[in-house]
Symmetry: C2
């Protein structure tokens, strides 16, 4: 099995001697770039030298290269209290090199561009009903959206470094094939050519894995712990296991398929062919059905309904707890708790981060999830199990994908110099 | 979370300078010991020097120390084809320093001694019915058994280096406490003092984890792969996750609790308090009940019954497959398949090793387990899932425990010199 983040692009070398020299410069460039990008405060060239242990002159040359490559930007010089040359703070360059996150999910297509500062430059999410859809048609549409978005940012002078396509299914990183996405009804295909994105490097990845990476990357007030299980609940339900801030991928990256964990063997048939899978209770469409809404209703409709029922239940007395109304309106909670209890019993994790639709629904899920975890997790009396809402916002796989592209840029800045 | 083997004993250092010198000698001793113990063929001193890169004179001194410490034994010298001093083959010393594996399980107590060659020197397994037992009484009995066994080997001139106690429950390695063992009815206790084994270093560990290590250690014709899930089926059912030949322990080593994975939420109440856990279908007592045998009948009785039914089913025609009779006699197969499918969906492993009672029962379980895996594992069409019998023999946790003691000796041979 593999514990690793997403693999990075590699560049070709010309020979052993050249490689050694090339890679020393590359290595130093990466060190300098990391110092600028990961420091809590903007550093000057002197600060980078101190942080990396490299000579001032070397740092200066490398910083110049990163500035010329538009990865790093110099802020106006500030004069310190002491005598000497004023320091030039270095920061990630805004609106220059950018990453493109793409996603096909069962109820939307999306494209999101992030720049090196972490800012969202463009965000396009197009609702759709993509059950049992024609991959050629859907991917062509997503390709058009992606071209629109990248033409737009290119026209503003930005460079799209690459794209990550998030898919709700089993993705084989070795072959670049999507093996199966039960809710889309897609199987064994290479989704990149139909996008028609020409020379733009596009890689594919599982939706929940990219969303978990978005969670790790921060940009939130409440930092994720170093190890957690991330569960992304949409029409399908996927999960990712994060150990020491890296994805734990199992043998092929096909782990975390919590949507197909048994909740009740006598339950309804799932899109995967088996019976009583979690998705049939706690997938978005199952939750809509249970609430008496159309399966393709927007999440906001479910939230509005649950809020309304809460208000009605409070009625005159005003003291009916949300937990009380949750089980009736959203039986998903107990099913999700059951599958999560299996996960915790098998894996021994203590933090569960709920993303996708679950983030907004957590107030109506929490009491049931926590009650079932307390009942079913053998170690529950000895562990502080924490269930928390994801922080990375909606369609987090788009953010995670764009960030992965930029992470690859920073892991090999020499390719941009 | 932690990926690691069982921690090793450490020795006290007297100060930084002393530590540095001490640890260089220790390190070299360990290198030499490993060369002798892990080589495919017996090495001479010259061979050890070649294998380790250490100087001949250094190797000779260290080998002399290992021989004096009775960790290594010299075989009679053999004269090679060429002129020169005859070579003295070095091998692990038999019947000298030994490890003691101890176990409390729901239906037996055990003590097993292994020597450095991997031979079983003594093996004592005492059947018992230890449901809801008094830990003080049971541990005193196990302590008596352990003393008997270690007095015996000591009388034959062997030295017991330490003991590992395997327990069917959640063991906290930081505190040395058993937190809970549902089938024994034990909770939060330190099981070492009641053993009354005086100065003998005793550590505790989860039964399935030690049994998985026994599997890894080899001693079998069919080697385990580097990564697999090991499931130990007795009255309770535990599992261990092995990644790249090391235990993957989760945050506290409390993973692999497959016995409490949901098979059917409408199922019977489990010893853990929850309903429909795997143990209620595929634990040893559940299997005995399903076959119409007393719950405390020996495994051999169940095997005999299943064999007999097969013969009867074959009747005149002689061609009824075992698979046909399995589901009727042993409904455990489908339940086990369901929990294993959850495990594979969540973890992405392709080899499942079945130990404990499952090893002998595999002919009657395999067809159902494989059918359910094929139905429920999302990646099943793209992966060769393999279900195989454990190779380490019955009560493998005893073997794993004794081996762990010896592994600690070899990781720090200086303590014995």
């Amino acid at each position: 099995m593999t514990t690793a983040g997403t693999a990075h692009e590699t560049t070709t070398r010309t020979g052993p001697a050249a490689a050694r020299q090339h890679s020393l410069r590359e290595h130093n460039l990466e060190l300098v770039a990391r110092a600028v990008f990961e420091g809590p405060e903007p550093l000057s060239r002197a600060g980078v030298a101190a942080a990396t242990g490299l000579a001032r002159a070397t740092v200066s040359t490398l910083v110049d290269q990163l500035v010329a490559a538009r990865l790093v930007r110099e802020l106006p010089a500030v004069t310190g209290g002491r005598a000497g040359r004023p320091a030039v703070p270095l920061v990630p360059a805004p609106r220059s090199v950018v990453g493109l996150g793409l996603e096909v999910n069962v109820d939307y297509l999306g494209a999101r561009v992030l720049d090196l500062t972490g800012d969202v430059v463009v965000d396009r999410v197009v609702p759709g009903a993509l059950h049992d859809s024609d991959p050629a048609v859907v991917l062509r549409r997503l390709g058009e959206l992606a071209r629109e978005v990248s033409d737009g940012v290119a026209a503003s002078g930005m460079t799209v470094a690459g794209a990550r396509l998030a898919l709700p299914g089993l993705v084989d990183p070795r072959t670049g094939l999507l093996e199966v996405a039960p809710n889309l009804g897609w199987s064994t295909l290479d989704p990149v050519p139909p996008l028609g994105l020409g020379d733009l490097p596009v890689r594919i990845a599982n939706e929940a894995k990219l969303a978990a990476l978005a969670e790790l990357a921060g940009g939130s007030d409440v930092a994720a712990p170093d190890s957690f299980v991330f569960v992304s609940g949409d029409v399908g339900i996927g999960a990712a296991i994060v150990v020491d801030r890296a994805l734990f991928l199992g043998e092929r990256g096909w782990n975390g398929e919590i949507g197909h964990v048994v909740v009740d063997p006598a339950g309804p048939r799932c899109s995967c062919g088996a019976f009583g899978c979690l998705e049939q209770y706690a997938g978005k469409e199952a939750m809509m059905r249970a609430a008496g809404l159309p399966t393709d209703a927007p999440l906001a409709a479910l939230v509005a309904l649950l809020t309304e029922r809460d208000a009605a239940a409070r009625g005159g007395s005003g003291v009916v707890a949300r937990a009380g109304s949750a089980a009736a309106a959203l039986p998903a909670g107990r099913a999700l708790g059951s599958a999560l209890a299996d996960f915790v019993n098998l894996l021994d994790v203590s933090t569960i981060v709920l993303g996708g639709a679950y983030t907004e629904l957590l107030p109506w899920l929490r009491a049931d999830v926590e009650a079932v975890l307390a009942d079913r997790v053998l170690a529950a009396p000895f562990v502080d199990l924490e269930v928390r809402a994801a922080q990375a916002g909606p369609q987090a796989a788009l953010t995670g994908g764009a960030r992965e592209v930029l992470r690859a840029v920073l892991a090999d800045p020499a390719a941009w110099v």
